[in-house]
Structures are given as C-alpha cells and as structure tokens.
C-alpha cells in the first residue's frame, strides 16, 4: 500500500537498517530454577528475564524498563539478588535461580509473603516479586535489619503505589517472625495514629 501525497515530499532522510539475523538457532542450557533442575532452549540473545517468562512460563518475574533502571525484574542468582533483565540467559548455565514462584514452601507462604499480604504491602503487586526477593536476600544476611538498613537494601527497587512504608513494616514483621518472635502489626500501621 502506498498513501499518496498532496504535497511533494522533502528529501527522504537516510534510513538506517539494522540487520538482525532472522532465526537465532536455540541453545539449550541446564540450570536450577526454584530448586528444580531444568533444561531450557532459547535464542542465545535472550536475557534471564525473557527466558524465565517466555521459555519457562514463570511470569511472576516482572519488568518495568529492561534497562536496569527499576529493579522490578529482581531474581536471586546463586542467592544474590540481581536484575534479570541484564543477565544473559546463557550466562546462567549451571547456576541457581530463585523466582517469586519458588518462595512459598508446599503451599505455605514465606513469612515475607505472609507479611506483605497482611499489611497491604502489595498494592498493584507489580513490584512485589522483586521486593520479596530483595528482602529475602537481606534477611538471609541480616536477621534484624534496622529501618535504615532495609531502606538501603531496597533502594534498588521502585514502587509507585505504596510509598514503601508498608513494605518496610512487612519486612520488619517477617524478620521478627523469622526470629521466632510472636509479632503482629502495630495498630498505627494498620489504622493510623490516634
């Protein structure tokens, strides 16, 4: 189809054509995802984010920029929180990946998941998987983080809904419970100040 003009066209700008080879043949790697060994085949330019969502059906990992600018795609790689949008799938061969789908243990929510649900720390829930995993890594390293330590640890994750406050409170609540304390949310955090 060609839409014809009323007026004469100005000189055409040079269009640069980036040639992308059409069909990358897939490569297969073996890795561990959520404590299960998996083999997965994918085009070699795919990031871990794409492999998880598109080739492994694990859509719990979200994305907000694909450029390392928001933290929404956080997963644990060998226990360390990383940005799955900037990790090459191929670089994960033989490694251990944990996503939000791997947090609950046989139908029992992880204490962080429990606390997030209880406090409404997940509003739209889009940033939540990333915050949960970043928090899990934090609590694995520090069982009693102060509010400032939590802020520092979560400074790489953006949330547009919550203002982070319920998230901090949920991390504190989960940490207390994971330490074996019988903790429940403060009245002020659920109902406000008198």
């Amino acid at each position: 189809m060609r839409v014809r003009a009323r007026k004469l066209a100005p000189a055409l700008p040079l269009i640069k054509i980036t040639v992308i080879p059409m069909h990358d043949s897939k490569t297969t790697i073996a890795l561990e995802v959520n404590e299960e060994p998996v083999e997965v085949a994918f085009a070699p330019h795919k990031t871990l984010l794409e492999v998880l969502r598109e080739d492994l059906g694990l859509t719990g990992t979200k994305h907000g920029c694909e450029l390392g600018e928001c933290g929404t795609c956080t997963v644990l790689l060998d226990g360390t929180p990383v940005l799955s949008c900037l990790v090459l799938g191929l670089a994960c061969a033989g490694r251990r990946v944990k996503t939000v789908e791997g947090m609950a243990d046989r139908g029992t929510l992880h204490p962080l998941q429990e606390a997030f649900a209880e406090l409404g720390a997940a509003q739209c829930g889009y940033c939540t998987p990333a915050f949960l995993l970043a928090s899990e890594a934090l609590l694995a390293a520090n069982a009693s983080p102060s509010r400032d330590v939590i802020k520092d640890a979560l400074a790489g994750n953006l949330c547009r809904c919550t203002g982070y406050i319920k998230i901090y409170e949920a991390v504190e609540l989960a940490a207390a419970r994971m330490r074996g304390e019988d903790a429940s949310p403060a009245a002020e955090s659920l109902y406000g100040y008198e």
Partner: protein, 336 residues
Amino acid sequence: MLRLPSFTYRQPRTLNELFAMKADAGPDASYVAGGTDLYPNMKRRQQEPRTVISLMGIRELRGTESGERGAVPLGACLTLTALHTNPHIREGYSAVAMAAGLVSTPLLRNMGTLGGNLCLDTRCNYYDQTYEWRKAIDFCMKKDGHICWVAPSSPRCWAVTSSDLAPVMVALGADFLLAGPAGERVVPAARFYHNDGINYLTKQPDEVLVEVRLPPAASPASDWDAVYHKLRRRGSFDFPVLGVAAWVRWERSTVADARVVLGGVASHPQEVPEAAAVLRGQTLSTEAIAAAADAAYRPAKPMDNTDFDLSWRKQMTRVYVTRALTELARRRNTTT
C-alpha cells in the same frame, strides 16, 4: 519489551583464549563483564557488537580480593558489592569502598564490576536513548550521526565520564594493568582516559583491564588520605552529575601533595592541578579550601547533557570540592 539484538556469545576461560576469540571475531566484538553498561547500550542499539565475549570466567581477572598491606591488586572482575563490603578495602581505601557503594543500586552493584566501571561508556542524554529516539533527532556524532547536539559547532563529542570509581583511581594514583595479545603493560589511571566522548579510553580495543594496583595503604611513611563526594538527584540509581575525588599526602598537618579530580564534568576524570597547587604546603584551613574550591570551579565546564541545569552543576563544583576537602581536614583533626 526492549530486547537485545542477536549476537554470538563466547565465554573464554583464560586470557589467551580470550585474545584468540577476539582476534577471531574482529572489530565487531565487545568484552562484557557484569553487562550492566553494555547490555542496556545494546538494547538501545548504541553499541552493536556481533560477538560478545564474557570476561567473567577468566580467573586472572577475578584478582585477589585479599588485602595484605602493600600495593593491593584488585581484579577487574570484582563486583562493586565486593569492593564496597571488603573489610580491607574499607579500612585501607575507604574512598574506593565508598565510591563503589555509591554506584547505582545494591542490585546493580551485585552485577557490575570494577573493570566495567572503569571502562564505562561516556554518557549524554542525547545518546543514552533508544534507537527510535535517536533517529528522531537524526542521531549524533557518537553513534550513527554527524553532529553533536550539545555543541553543534563542535568537532568533538562531549559525552561525560560517569564512573564513580574513575576519579577516585586517578586521585589515588592507581595503576592499571592491561593485557593484550602483544603482552602486558601498566598505565597510570590518569593516562587511561582521554578527554573525548568517543575515544574516551587510551587502551587498544583488544586490550583488557586485568587489575587495578592501588598504592600502598596509608602508613606513617606514606601518610595519605582520600575522599569521594558524589552529586546526583536521588540517593540511588543515579549516575554522578559531579564526582569529587580528593587526595592529600600529609606532612604532619601540612599538605605535602594533593590531587583533586572531578568526575561528571568532562569526558575524562578531570584533574585540577590548579587546586592542588593552591593546597600544597598549606594546612587545610578554611581559606586554603576556599581557594582550592575556587581553582577547581573555574575549569569545570559541565555541558547540557546530564540531569540538572549546567550552571548549577558548575556552581556545585565549588561546594562539593569544599566539602570534600573539609572532610579531609576533619578526618585529619580527629586522627591526630
């Protein structure tokens, strides 16, 4: 979803394998370490290597993370988190640990490496944009285009050095060990950089940064100190729009030697010898600091290609240099 273009990915185990792969792939090959700079750039088609060769499997580059006193070699593939948290680095080279900890976010620091940080592409908000965006302005000199939108009559690119560690390394007088197919060489950090947004590194394309050699930690014999101050909009994520690395060698309470290096105001970490000259032989008095800050302020020429208004950024050089030097003075006073 923004995706990477297709490319061939190679994972060598040794430097020799690496150079062979590089020779094999030719000029269209890039090295990658953490990928936190290269992959976003590839997604935006600012860099379009056909082959990407990972440095992460090469043992020589993981370097010693240890820190016996004496010249400390840091492997190029150490992550920023490792640099930031290593107790020896924190103790002996707090400015390095501090600058590493100020890079972007904790998540990114778990991936980004020292080498990648020191080789980080220069930045410009006409350039760090997607292919479609750059196409709308007809591209620019740094990639696919002909003119520089920041200074349209300029023959060169003014993209900005945005590494937090580079100014610190220059201020500390660190040496970089480079390896290439022809062998190894050592260059002082300052000579690793060029004031040109496009050719911002002096290294050959096939050379790798193997390690960074820090000078011996401060001791009574070599009584030095250094600090790093970073200006940016938010406390995380953001690149420096101004970085001030200040180093002094003390002779009792007098400055025997000094270096003041600015990041984020030129295409290379900009050493300001005028500021150092003002300080030499002085105590870090308020007057001396003000004079040095003034000397640093004058040559700083930020351009309109980062966050914030450029005149304010220029004003801030004075404030941040003052603060960095004041911190050095304060640290001196509390230790002696």
